[in-house]
Amino acid sequence: MPKFTPLPDLPAPPNTVGIRGWLRSNLFNSPLNSIVTIVAAYIVVQGLWWFIDWGVINANLIGETRADCPVDANGEKSGACWVFVYTRLEQFIYGFYPPDQIWRINIVFIIFALCIGALVFEKTPWKNWIAGFTLLVFPFIAFYLLNGDAFGLTKVDTHKWGGFTLTLVLAVTGIVASLPIGILLALGRRSEMPIIRSICIVYIEFWRGVPLITVLFMASVMLPLFMSAGVETDKLVRALIGIIMFQSAYMAEVVRGGLQAIPKGQYEAAQALGLSYWKTMTFIILPQALKLMIPGIVNTFISLFKDTSLVLIIGLFDLLAIVQSAIVDPEWPQVSVEGYLFVALMFWVFCFGMSRYSQSLERKLSTGHH
């Protein structure tokens, strides 16, 4: 008896598999879509070509002065003048820090990068200790290294701090200092004591309701009025006070979101064990909630990182401000686009990287928790 053998499967129609199938189903699945695809592809190719032509092929990378970027008869450059960014790079990163002391900033950068790297990498041992070191010890190391005036280091005044260093100092100090204040405010907002709760709500809603720029104005013009006569505060410290007060209100809302995500049973179980309020919070609730809050904290860090550029308005020289002042230098005409692109790239790389990290964390947390 002949054994039944099915005929071999026919191959799938050629226009539904492979590159052709992909193109057909994703780019050309209807006449209208085909037209849209062609128009969009044309614009993309044109734009990219123009950018490569300007930024790579006709650009000038090597040189010392503006004369190394030749201009034609109309006074137009042939392409981008990256010489500008290249020669000023040190100033853009380190500000007006004395060149022979720059190693101090580099050490701070290296420690910071190691800490962040260790925290982001999933399998690092003793993660809690490293987190504690980053939040509690590192700020002091960084302060003494940057400011000096101790351990035999010469003092570097804060008005010499600038560039990307200042941007990082503002953003990291802002976030590290606002975290504990934010936690207290969030606990206060959920407190059962009506007066404490109202004070916290008023504080949070006040700072969340006003633009950062008015807060910075307030810190720079009103804060000196509020101090006792004779007390002088540093411009950077005043800006930091403004940023921390502003940021702690946003941080409080992130913490509140984390606290709300903890099931009620956890509170009840802690109460049943006879733990006091503070013990419940430190040993039961906050360790769980803080883990849930990391994406939110990263997101507020991203917005704070971008917002630090506002200190330009009260006369501090962060990355944007230092590039802006280099652009208006009469010795370097027509380099604004190059300067802005450099700043944009710096901010973009950091913000995009952080937002990707927080997204991946969110995905991981949402599967692990339920």
Partner: protein, 395 residues
């Protein structure tokens, strides 16, 4: 015989262990601390201002300002008071906020829907737009448009010319301005009548559908009515509208409407920045609707348009509107960055020039913050009401 237990007297807790007493104590301390803090800073502020010879109070608002402002929606020149500069700045802020909200909503919805497009290239372009613009500081974007783009435009004599009516140069954008003549009121009236008819029709359509299940197309007739009826009246009334075209006279343009470059740069930057956030709001709102809703609508035999109009959009809007309002509020607050390029908004004019001239820091910062605070508290009150009204009622 069961043993009789004598009821024990409740254990007297120590007063510092009594939660009620503790709570009163802590709250008392908190109030005292807040009062002490405000007393301290107010006291210092008053002494410091006295030492610097600054008078306190709002009397300075009646003094003559003596400085010009490049754009004002209300009548203003150097002879008006400082109080007037507050309103000039306020209206300029409102202008840029309203225009920005309109444009950012438009662009944000387009990009957000494009991100969900089945066309791979369009979806990728839309996400590139979002990732590009939301990860770059707004201030940098404002600077880019203002210093790198608009400052690089040609002078008035070599303006970019569109149809001899629109001119773009380094001093701004020049548009034709409509001059309304007598008889134009009839056109407004026609527009009103058209809106009334459309409303009546849509109510009738809904009733008809509810009672009989029948329906008729409404969208295209409505658009036609909205356009044609006023146009007909306009022609019948003898075209009572003239366009005042900008014209190059000497070194500058005269006539027409002028959009100053500061406003343009601010508007473009705010629109792109906020649109990238709105696009994310729209995308997540649409993605939040379970696929089963679409399948159920298809199973009921609804058309594509009906599915969107009756099933998808109403549910997506519930998710979209609260964060959308939040973005509107952010846009309004972000418009205060105008001060960096000199667009005369509230912060730039009032908390900038007026503050520098008068030195009344406390009063002026207080008034400026109060404006933004009122706005955001009012918005969140409306949002809370909205959330209560439209929250998903689970049965």
């Amino acid at each position: 015989m069961p043993q009789q237990t004598t009821p024990q007297s409740p254990v007297k807790t120590k007063i510092w262990n009594d939660p009620k007493a503790r709570s009163i104590f802590f709250q008392g301390v908190a109030i005292a601390a807040v009062f002490a803090f405000f007393y301290f800073i107010l006291n210092n502020a008053l002494t410091n201002m006295e030492n610097r010879g600054i008078t306190t109070g709002f009397a300075f608002l009646n003094n003559q300002a003596g400085f010009g402002i490049i754009q004002s929606l209300i009548e203003y020149d150097e002879t008006y008071t400082y109080g007037r500069t507050f309103f000039v700045g306020l209206f300029n802020t409102v202008l840029v906020a309203v225009l920005g909200i309109f444009l950012a909503t438009l662009l944000g919805f387009i990009v957000g829907i494009a991100r969900l497009s089945k066309n791979w290239l369009v979806a990728r372009l839309a996400s590139a737009f979002v990732e590009l613009f939301r990860n770059i500081p707004l201030l940098l974007q404002i600077f880019f448009w203002y210093f790198a783009v608009l400052r690089a435009l040609p002078g008035p004599r070599d303006s970019l010319n569109f149809a001899d009516a629109f001119f773009l140069n380094v001093r701004g954008l020049y548009l034709p301005s409509p001059q309304i003549e007598a008889g134009f009121g009839a056109v407004w009236l026609a527009l009103l009548v058209a809106v009334g008819i459309i409303l009546a029709l849509s109510i009738y359509q809904r009733r008809l559908q509810r009672d009989t299940g029948k329906t008729f197309p409404l969208l295209l007739p409505s658009i036609a009515l909205l356009l044609l009826l006023p146009l007909l009246v306009f022609v019948l009334a003898g075209s009572p509208l003239n366009w005042d075209l900008p014209e190059l006279r000497g070194f500058n343009f005269q006539g027409g409407l002028t959009v100053i470059p500061e406003l343009m740069a601010l508007l473009v930057a705010l629109t792109f920045y906020t649109a990238s956030f709105i696009a994310e709001v729209v995308r997540s709102g649409i993605e939040a609707i379970p696929k089963g809703q679409t399948e159920a609508a298809n199973a009921l035999g609804l058309s594509n348009g009906q599915r969107l109009r009756l099933i998808i959009v109403p549910q997506a809007m519930r998710v979209i509107i609260p964060p959308l309002t939040n973005q509107y509020l952010n846009l309004t607050k972000n418009s205060s960055l105008a001060t960096a390029i000199g667009y005369p908004d509230l912060v730039s004019v009032f908390a900038g020039t007026t503050l520098n001239q008068t030195g009344q820091a406390v009063e002026i910062i207080f008034m400026t913050m109060a404006v933004y605070l009122t706005l955001s508290i009012a918005t969140s009150a409306v949002m809370n009401w909205f959330n209560k009204r439209y929250a998903l009622v689970e049965r």
